[in-house]
Symmetry: C2
Subunit: 424 residues, 2 copies
């Protein structure tokens, strides 16, 4: 026997029975994002590896441990499968000069992302995200933050995510972040040996990450002196305007002073949404402001950009959506002929049905009436259309309603009209 | 200034203006494939590289020169981005034991494929396909070939592809292929030195490929002795039954005795569809039967499988569809406020519109009325909703029809009903 193959570790097939759930998610996302004036964009599955190094930070976990790289050739530098969507969209925004076309560009995307997680952890290497990015010279309004947060909560509601909770924080401006970073490092120095191993490293490279460490000891230290991040007055005013707009729009939220997010590029508003029933990995999505990324990726130095976005994990959403909302796929008609020589007739019937928008299928190799009826049932057919000896002779077809078992025989020439009527 | 990044060679961004064309293609494909009883399946972007080596043949051009490989780690064997869809779907079919669940499984897929074409040739490294595969113990009926060919022509018609032409051929059974291969090699021996360089190589590894060489000398030699492939009676009978079913279904086709397709796994029916206006690269899709692939990839030795499928190139289809059929994306409302302090009111209005399924957007940073009207125009807004001083005081909103320039002022409390009415 030949070797069999398995789906790569950390990836999975989405089989036909699961497709309706994914399709529903995608079509809802498209509809809602469009109704907020966001437009779909699709970037390639892989990018120049340096795009990710530059945007996510060369020392970040994603770049350091999780990029799935492609074999590079002599003539060309390396590529990596995209670990997230923001870097690619900022790259496309700048490359296609959207900043010269419109004051604010509002994008959304839906698609696979890739991280080389160690497979023994049971984490996914290919996963799927719905994401949104608003970028532009008009992008620094607190009402845009409120729009983005309203949109994310609207999406989760339409997806039937159970118990979604919005947590927000502000990291302040780039200057605030530097100042706060020095302050945090100074404070942590007193407790440096009590921090967990990871946080000892974070203390050096990205001290903000200590704030959301789950280790109990680290938490105690953080709680002891960080009630609020000491923002500048301008940054605080901006954050308060965001909160005010959210309240007016009736969006519930919670301030989470220790929320920082893993990626280096965030400034000002950051947020995370958790849901019920997901255990300890309860985030379904997150995002924040990232104006600095435009500069890092070669934006015009004289232009002041504003940018904010989020990404939702589709696998997580499906887990958090409770019971499947979509029924199984059905088909309008299953065509059956009782003799092989009637196949030309039944094939003609199939073609006619499909041309008229009536979904129809058949078995191609015959069998007993019982086995054929079983197959029609399995295919979730609403009607069985039967060509037996009498029907073949009379140019008729018997139409059986699969749920009521009622059956009638009608002229083949009128079958399309009759089926359209029955399917109404 | 920081380094800017470009989209990887041989790939491209699908920007928002082009999205409606792609969406239309995808939603038509989904609707039509479903109406034929085919169900969507999604396999990962990459697979075990050996899956492709085994299925496509280690000496094939695709495997030899065009696989985009991923960097492998010590613990795991290599992966490659999928160059086509069939191998992955057969892998999934066998891995998920579809052969034990149903006599015939009918799948379709839509998604990106990858080939490491040399970029100087201007060919795509990431391209997109719509494909269909029917696999099962009931898969060896000539009516299934006819169904697949009817489906492919139905899709191309709905896609408005100009002048689609279906060419079919039969390579016969595996045994036929071996016998024909010997015969061809014997015939070509007399002319071996006259064959082009590529065909000298093909003569050794896959002599069938000499039949569709475009080189004039090779063509002359082929034409001199191959009018028809010498099939066995059974294979010829099968091919004739396919043709008969196609004729009854009113599908035009042409027999192309030199059509062989590049992939090793095809037996019996093979086909290709060309379109007008594409120059020398005029194929929009192709496919064929490939029962042997099930055995190669570890199918049950005692089971007799039948399998047939095709793939359509989405980029080629868009090129061959003549003018864009889809208009630009519009938005129902563009909300304008004349003072920054009215933004809370306009944000509330935006939220209400969107909650009620009315698409709406705004500019977040104000500006002159003229510039705001320009932005509303650019966004293809159907209506501008304006909150000026008077409107703010009176709790009203002015509604301007952007195509007729007619304007009226209505109560804010009734705006949703009024907009719903106007948008009917």
């Amino acid at each position: 026997m030949n070797k069999t193959f398995a789906v790569p570790r950390g990836t999975s097939d989405i089989l036909p029975d699961a497709i309706p759930l994914w399709e529903a998610l995608e079509s809802k996302a498209r509809k809602i994002c469009k109704s907020y004036g966001y437009r779909e964009i699709r970037t390639p599955i892989y990018e120049d590896i340096n795009l990710f190094k530059r945007s996510l930070g060369a020392t970040s976990d994603v770049v350091h441990k999780q990029l799935l790289e492609m074999v590079s050739s002599k003539e060309e530098e390396g590529y990596a499968l995209r670990p997230e969507g923001t870097a690619s969209i900022v790259r496309s925004y700048l490359e296609n000069s959207f900043d010269k076309k419109e004051p604010l560009s509002k994008f959304f995307y839906i698609g696979p992302m890739f991280r080389g997680e160690r497979p023994q952890k049971g984490r996914l290497r290919q996963f799927h995200q719905i994401g949104v990015e608003a970028i532009g010279t008009d992008g620094a309004s607190p009402f845009l933050d409120a729009e983005i947060l309203t949109l994310v909560m609207h999406l989760l509601q339409e997806f039937h995510v159970q118990g979604p909770k919005l947590k927000i924080n502000s990291l302040g401006s780039k200057e605030d972040k530097e100042r706060i970073s020095l302050w945090l490092r100074k404070e942590f120095t007193k407790h440096k040996n009590e921090l967990c191993e990871d946080c000892q490293r974070r203390y050096e490279h990205n001290v903000f990450r200590v704030l959301d460490c789950k280790n109990e000891k680290c938490r105690k230290i953080v709680d002891s002196f960080v009630q609020d991040l000491p923002l500048s007055d301008i940054s605080r005013g901006y954050f308060e305007a965001v909160q005010k707009a959210l309240k007016e729009a009736g969006i519930n939220f919670e301030i989470a002073p220790h929320l920082v997010r893993g990626l280096d590029y965030y400034t000002h508003t950051v947020f995370e949404i958790t849901a019920e029933g997901l255990g300890s990995q309860d985030a379904v999505g997150a995002g924040g402001r990232y104006a600095g990324l435009l500069d890092d990726l070669g934006g015009n130095e004289k232009t002041e950009y504003g940018a904010i976005g989020f990404a939702l994990g589709m696998e997580r959403i499906l887990l958090a959506s409770g019971k499947a909302q979509e029924g199984p796929q059905t088909i309008d008609a299953f065509v059956i002929e009782t003799q092989a020589e009637y196949q030309f007739r039944s094939f003609q019937l199939l073609s006619d049905l499909r041309k008229n928008g009536i979904s129809a299928t058949t078995n191609f190799s015959g069998g007993s009436m019982k086995s054929l009826m079983n197959q029609a049932n399995k295919a979730n057919a609403r009607f069985a259309l039967i060509i037996g000896d009498q029907e073949f002779k009379d140019e008729t077809v018997s139409v059986k309603n699969m749920s009521t078992s009622q059956q009638e025989t009608v002229a083949l020439s009128g079958i399309i009209e009759i089926m359209k009527d029955k399917l109404k």
